[in-house]
């Protein structure tokens, strides 16, 4: 709406709307702008000359004065300010992460000293959902990974006439590395994400607050059973994955390179031992802790809206997979 630069000799604004019978919000917006603009220019505007319904709408919109301190300062978009905010957000994230880790360790200590307790039914339910119910997808992926390693072997090893070494490749690959890592990646996407979404939703629904005021430690109640279940189930899933991966690798070796099962098994027993299996299982247990930790952590750090639940799920998966890859890399360096 345009106001003329000069308003000579005008003291009052009046709108003749007597002939108006129908209107929509645009007229109200116009009248509001007129009233505001008039006030700025010290012109009086009396809405009571408007038709009654219109006048009521005008007065409803102006009845509560603007809360002057409610407006947020507009983002200036300054680079340094953005960097500052970003750094501070990392600081907050670090504090909440440390708090979460500390509280979780404390809950574990209470459990082992007998001061805390594990709710059996909750624990069994989590155990069921992250063990037997995850077996299908873990089995499928492990079979495929075993086959892929054998395929790779067939491409590379046949060039050197070293087909019978394919069992070394499959055995080493599955037992020491990929068995545990694939379980970790699948479970980060499947169970870690589910933990984060569930806990974040509980937070948005005030359920975590309700636990606290009922004198129930949310770490003991929610985090402990989830972490313990993953630490127990990861090695078991890894053993299943290893067995299936070795079998599927053996089948592909037979089909593509005519390596007989006897040759394959003989190669395996020479290539890998219980040490390799043990290493894979220890890693797997650690991966279990990391997946559970990142899922529960992101859930507890979430805000209170639906969008925050989505963010928590995403960051749980990203954190889980990154932490696993990093730990695996460090383990290989050692």
């Amino acid at each position: 709406m345009q106001w003329p630069e000069e308003l000579p000799d005008i003291l009052e604004l009046r709108v003749d709307a007597s002939g108006v019978t129908h209107w929509d919000s645009r007229l109200c917006v116009f009248l509001l702008k007129l009233g505001e603009g008039g006030t700025e220019r010290r012109l009086s505007f009396d809405p009571t000359s408007l038709p009654r319904e219109l006048c009521e709408l005008y007065q409803l919109a102006t009845a509560v004065p603007e809360k002057t301190d409610a407006r947020r300062p507009e983002a200036k978009g300054q680079f340094l300010e953005a960097v500052g905010h970003y750094t501070l957000s990392w600081h907050d994230l670090l504090i909440t992460t440390l708090e979460f880790s500390g509280e979780t360790v404390r809950a574990f200590c209470r459990l082992f000293t007998g001061a805390g307790r594990l709710r059996k039914n909750d624990f069994l339910a989590v155990l069921q959902s992250c063990g037997p119910e995850a077996l299908g997808i873990v089995a499928l992926i492990s079979v495929l990974v075993g086959m892929i390693i054998a395929f790779l072997g067939s491409v590379v090893l046949t060039r050197f006439g070293a087909e019978h070494y394919v069992s070394y490749l499959v055995g080493y690959g599955m037992l020491r590395e990929l068995g545990a890592l694939m379980v970790a990646i699948i479970m980060a996407g499947r169970t870690g994400a589910a933990f984060a979404a569930e806990i974040a939703t509980m937070k948005a629904n005030e359920e975590i607050d309700a636990l606290k005021v009922n004198g129930i430690c949310p770490y003991e109640f929610l985090v402990l059973p989830r972490l313990l279940a993953l630490v127990l189930m990861f090695p078991l899933l890894t053993v299943c994955g290893n067995i299936l991966g070795l079998i599927s690798g053996g089948v592909v070796s037979y089909l593509l390179m005519d390596v007989s099962s006897a040759q394959f098994i003989a190669g395996l027993t020479k290539a890998v031992g219980f040490g390799d299996l043990g290493l894979g299982l220890v890693k797997s247990g650690i991966f279990g802790i990391l997946v559970g930790w990142s899922g529960c952590l992101r859930g507890m750090q979430a805000g209170n809206t639906a969008a925050d639940v989505g963010l928590a799920t995403t960051s749980a998966v990203v954190t889980g997979i990154t932490a696993n890859a990093l730990v695996d890399w460090i383990a290989n360096l050692l």
């Binding site: 409803l60 509980m202 629904n205 005030e206 309700a210 005021v213 129930i216």
Partner: protein, 263 residues
Amino acid sequence: MNPAPANEPPPLRVEGVTLAYGDYVVMRDITFSVARSEIVVIMGGSGCGKSTLLKHLIGLRQPAVGTISYEGKDYFHIPDEERDKLLRRFGVLFQGGALFSSRTLSENVAMPMREHTDMSEAEIAETVAYKLALVGLRGFENYYPAEISGGMKKRAGLARALALDPDYLFFDEPSAGLDPVSSRRLDDLILHLRDSLRTSIIVVTHELSSIFAIADRAIYLDAISRRMLADAPPSELLARPPDPCIREFLTRAGSERLHGVNS
């Protein structure tokens, strides 16, 4: 009311409390106390910090300044075990009920008993049925929170809050979302709890009929000045309002202005 002996500290005392989110101050310098067997209503317009104050009272947030003490002990400076014991004497009804969504109503109500008492399963089942009957939800024991309406969730939340016969009850907007009959029944129940169990009850609400029906004292929080403007029985506030905005609040005076126009 039953006045406490002169030397005994009040069950709940809030002293010089400032509520803040980071640098943003919601309310300054709140002081009041609640006696045994007393209902105090915290009222005020939307967004004035009523629910925030309640979150502080139940220990979910620590005040920026000031102390909140129960029976003379500062809530935020007592040993963990003592705080756990105190929490067992709290019952809180959250705005949306805050039921555990993965559990049935009876499991929700039973949870505080399973956690904090050595009652047998049979005793728990009987008590749960009684608590659900108190809030008019008999027969809904095996429903999940997702299967019932918002008002029913709220009533189930109340049943859970009453599970351990608390000494302190906190209600966040108890009648919002309830039909008039349920709301009236809830008021009766609140009065009954005060008189029979000598519970100290703090209710956050802006439901006028409830305020006049149940409040022994009402505290008014003003969003504009960010201060507590009144602490008195509602009838007295109506007769001699210490501030015009309180009269407007208690008589819905704001709407007269509108209906007086052009007529």
